[in-house]
Symmetry: C2
Subunit: 252 residues, 2 copies
């Protein structure tokens, strides 16, 4: 088998966040596979085949990519953000595991800027210290696991990043998560909602855990809940900086 | 004040991982500030001023950048990886907080590929599910905080990423961390040591928690400790893939 699959991270949106490696992989591909909105915005060259598909069919998309590569194609599977962080890479390796024939394929992951990095960059330095990233989607894991992780993250005083905080199918998950966190953390904890960072409808909301309105949180929003050390640096006439300092407690 | 400071992420090393935005910020800068090894490898253009400094002087470097910008300069502070993740961004905002005059400066953070993303890309999809990132450096926080976080991370069954796992000044920290994790997690838990990913001396070590030799871990190494769901996918004649599947436990 001479084919290749590159799982390519496109970052959060704008071309300025697409690495040269990612651009080169897309350019070199005979076949580009991905969720329709990603495919549509790529500049395809003549002779390249596009395979656009719906959301929530990650495994099917992964299998198609592996089949094409097994037939000799050079495939780029495009993924939002970083493919390795709540995106396409895991689905591709899960699919590759299914067939011994696919084990011999050359599968590469091309890293990209993930939503939490873009959001952090806009806000200041909220991830300046230890943090954790939790997906609130309970499609593929029990809600009890999410609750356990939120509790542990609060008790260990991590900065907490929440991916996939809401969807039409489960609009109340973010509210449940915040209800739990409010019982475990100070009401004054800085909280940021970073929506569609890097896209024309980008919106940043800086609030506090006690008064945060989770009604504004949708699937395009990344949520960052500070640690006990996270603070806002107020500025005259400008948005405060959100800062988690490098030092912690008694070590300062 | 008309100056600007961009805190620019250079990624783990190779040019293929430097975003177009990062390249543009460096090109546009009148002054480039950074740790000497980063400065040395940058292509500087005529008229650009370079300010190279030693490691472990992040705050001084940050203050110099802010001073230059306050005098009207367009400054690029270069940082390895992503400036927002255990790198220069927090130091710059901590320094900016010190002087009200600096609050008015335009400070931008330019995200980059951080070590954990490069390592994950090489290994397969070890970060395919919830994870946490902990710096083992106890220069700026008490070791007791690190212990508490390792314990919580193990109990919540996060994939655990360890930055700054060792140094000449504290070579035993990684051994202490592993001794603790061995009491909390299965001996068969997949563990990867990813050293200098993207550089000529890159080295990947795939092992298990029970038998991992932490003697091989140095400051250029990123450590990934799997969750209970992380597994190696064996392949004939090739390195196994390290995979943390998207599903968890009973939800499968």
């Amino acid at each position: 088998m001479s084919g290749r699959v590159a799982v390519v991270g496109l970052g959060p949106g704008p071309a300025q966040w697409i690495t040269p490696e990612a651009s080169a992989e897309i350019e070199a591909a005979s076949d580009v596979v991905g969720y329709t909105p990603y495919i549509v915005r790529l500049p395809m060259r003549a002779g390249q085949r596009a395979h656009a598909s719906d959301n929530r069919v990650e495994l099917e998309r992964a299998r198609l990519s592996l089949k094409l590569a097994a037939d000799g194609a050079t495939v780029a599977v495009v993924s939002g953000g970083d493919p390795g962080i709540f995106a396409m890479a895991a689905a591709v390796f899960e699919a590759a595991e299914e067939s011994r024939a696919w084990h011999a394929l050359d599968i590469a992951v091309i890293p990209g800027v993930t939503a939490m990095q873009a959001a952090a960059a806009r806000l200041g330095a909220p991830l300046g210290h230890d943090f954790c990233a939790i997906s609130l989607s309970d499609n593929l894991k029990p809600w009890a696991v999410i609750e356990k992780r939120l509790k542990a993250a609060a008790e260990a005083d991590f900065v907490i990043v929440l991916y996939n905080p809401a969807s039409k199918g489960r609009p109340t998950r973010i509210a449940e998560a915040f209800a739990m966190l409010r019982g475990l953390k100070s009401a004054t904890t800085p909280v940021a909602f970073a929506r569609a960072v890097g896209r024309p409808d980008e919106k940043l909301t800086l609030t506090r855990l006690g008064k945060a309105d989770v009604g504004a949180v949708d699937m395009a929003t990344l949520v960052i809940v500070g640690s006990s050390e996270t603070r806002y640096v107020p500025r005259e006439g400008a948005r405060p900086w959100m800062l988690t300092p490098r030092s912690y407690g008694a070590a300062r």
